[in-house]
Amino acid sequence: MIATEVTTPAPVSRTDLEATGAVPLLCLFAGAAVWLLLALLLALLCSLKLHAPALLASGPMFTYGRVRAAADAALLYGFGVPAALGVGLWLLCRLGRTRLAGPAVVFVGALAWNAAVAAGVWAILRGGGSGYEAFEMPGSVAPLLLLSYGLIGICGILTFRQREPGPLYPSQWFVFGALFWFAWIFSTAALLLLGSPPRGVLQAAVNWWYEHNLDTVFFGFAGLAPIFYFLPKLTGRPLHSHYLAAFAFWMLALAGSWGGIAVGAPLPAWLVSVSLVGTVLTVIPIAAVAMNLYFTLKGVGPALEANVCLRFISAGLLFWVVAGAQQVVGALPSVGALTDFTPFTTAQRDLFRYGFLAMTMFGAIYYIAPRLAAAKSGAPDGRWKGWLAKWHFGLMLAGVVIGYFSLLVAGVWQGVELQNPANSFVSVMRGSLVGLRLSMLEPLLLTLGVIAFLLNFALLLRGCCPCCRREKAIGPEPRKEGV
């Protein structure tokens, strides 16, 4: 495979370049989508338990706390990281005009990662979670996660290094940054929380620092990379300002990595203050990105609607801005006093993870996957079923918006009501149940959306049968090669 292609001196076509990475990247996307479906089903079960606490309560496995933890783990590690890696690697290939380095290594890494996530989610449901939110993966699984991430990440860095010489595009910085960031924060959290847990609240400090960095910086970088690539590309507008993008990038790395500690936390006051300052400063990168893309897209108008990829990505950008702004507002002591520990924070988190991360990733995958499938099979461009993709978008948008506002209102209401100590806690909880229960529509609609996506994805892969056969050839049955 390599020998024939290396000898051709003529510039290689884009299709040839993309064929190299097709199998591992499609594998990452497929795994991510299946995990998202599972995460949503678990989240749906959690929501149902708010309607009927007795549901599936006869055994320990499906108790609320475990299902909640497993849903988070499946969303973050099953969906978020592989999707971010797949999209990021593709962007590095596309923007560097190069092949994916070590596709077989990426493929093995993807399989190992998915196996580790499966083992981790299973362990959490069996009661083996670590007890640290957003980092529930048990100690037995974390090394495998880190190792398989390393396999994929190193290939990403090699791909970056073998790019064609020339100026770097902002998306490349973002992917490059994300690749390192996850390795750093995950290894820190694994060593400190699972290896040798520090004393007392230090565990909580590390946990909050990890969760904040995972969302704000790692997923932030990973999601902004496709936003910066696809919005200008698909609308045919050059990016308004590379300087502004660079400024946002560095501000996000600096300020975005400071935060995650609520105002009342039992930690030294200076740490709480530093966290607050960092969180408030993220206003700057948010404004910089929003301004940059606003000037890029100014006057594009209905063209944003024409293409399903653009719809997903522009919605993702909008939700990133809103979620970021809400994070800043919620960090302020006067607001946090009301909204901390209420569904207000859940609303923000879900908007970030479903509205920003998942929608951006799907937007990118809608562009990338058919090209990979086509490049692999040599057939003309694969085609999504347009109506399925539109349903997917509509369902996701509706789910995210309904979920966001119902949780937001429930959270603010709870916060205000709880200020008065005469209102009993349980009565306030019950009063806000309307919102909490309504938010069940979010995982429900998103589940339907992801099912539409998976159907579409299966049809896409079926549409290029040679591709499927070659995918199998990587497995233990190479004899099918000649078919």
Binding site: A57, P60, W209, P268, G336
Partner: protein, 265 residues
């Protein structure tokens, strides 16, 4: 911005700043936190290692994901109504957690804060809440949205004599005639853990609220020599600790300020 190694360097420095601030900094300050003497009501060592059963219960708490609905942190009086609600007598501070194996301060309250659950109920009162929170006879009877943890109990036929651990069942959650509800070891451990959660003593960094009886006693005892208002300062400046302070009524509080200055800033 076209130089890979330079971008790497910038990223590394950004991460290093964050890491030093949020991971190394608190580590340097709090890693050696030891038992402290409380400032009120009596100078005793705090906290103490929890009993073994409570330690096991902490793992049950972790495994069941209780922290997804219950926090274990009381915010200071100016933030929220935690104190006014009776969830604690003071804010939670770093000292309260030094003997936890897995620290689970929680991030969401679908249920009440449990940092001082042990002040509100003993283990025997926790068990019925685990069996079925809606049958508990209190103000909110029947309205809790907490799931029942019936899998932590055995419903079994009463043998020759009733089990000593069996729930003393009220009418609301009686077992069928001839049967009894017996908590499994995990339930007993979990109840012991919840009942062990109490942060009722005052520390240097979490003094009694001004105006409370404990605060009055404390200032009376420690401020007599200087007349200052900063209670702990008087005690630590005097090498002899509390012994230099004139004995006043309630003077047993006097040595208290000689406490945690070395550990906590």
């Amino acid at each position: 911005m076209n130089n890979g190694p330079l971008i790497f360097l910038g990223l590394f420095v950004s991460m290093a700043i964050s890491w030093v601030t949020f991971v190394l900094g608190p580590q340097a300050q709090l890693a050696d936190l030891q038992q402290a003497k409380t400032v009120a009501p009596l100078p005793v060592s705090y906290p103490n290692t929890p009993p073994g059963l409570a330690r096991q219960g902490e793992q049950v708490y972790r495994a069941a994901g209780c922290a997804y609905c219950h926090t274990e942190q009381v915010r200071p009086a100016e933030l929220g109504s935690d104190l006014a609600r009776g969830w604690g007598v003071r804010r939670s501070v770093a000292h309260d957690y030094i003997y936890d194996q897995t620290v689970m301060p929680g991030a969401q309250r679908l249920g009440p804060d449990l940092a001082n659950a042990g002040l509100r109920m003993d283990a025997m009162a926790v068990l019925p809440r685990l069996w079925d929170p809606r049958t508990v006879n209190n103000l909110d009877a029947g309205h809790s949205i907490m799931p029942a943890y019936k899998y932590l109990f055995d419903v079994r036929k009463i043998g020759r004599a009733p089990s000593p651990d069996a729930l003393v069942t009220g009418s609301a959650f009686a077992a069928p005639p001839g049967y009894e509800i017996v908590p499994r070891p995990a339930a007993l451990a979990l109840a012991a853990y919840v009942a062990s959660l109490r942060q009722e003593v005052y520390l240097f960094e979490a003094p009694p609220p001004p105006g409370s009886p404990a605060a009055t006693a404390l200032t009376a005892a420690t401020n007599a020599p200087t007349g200052g208002t900063n209670a702990p300062a008087g005690g630590t400046n005097s090498p002899a600790g509390g012994s230099g302070v004139p004995a006043l009524p309630g003077g047993s509080n006097a040595p208290a300020p000689q406490t945690t200055n070395a550990n906590v800033k």
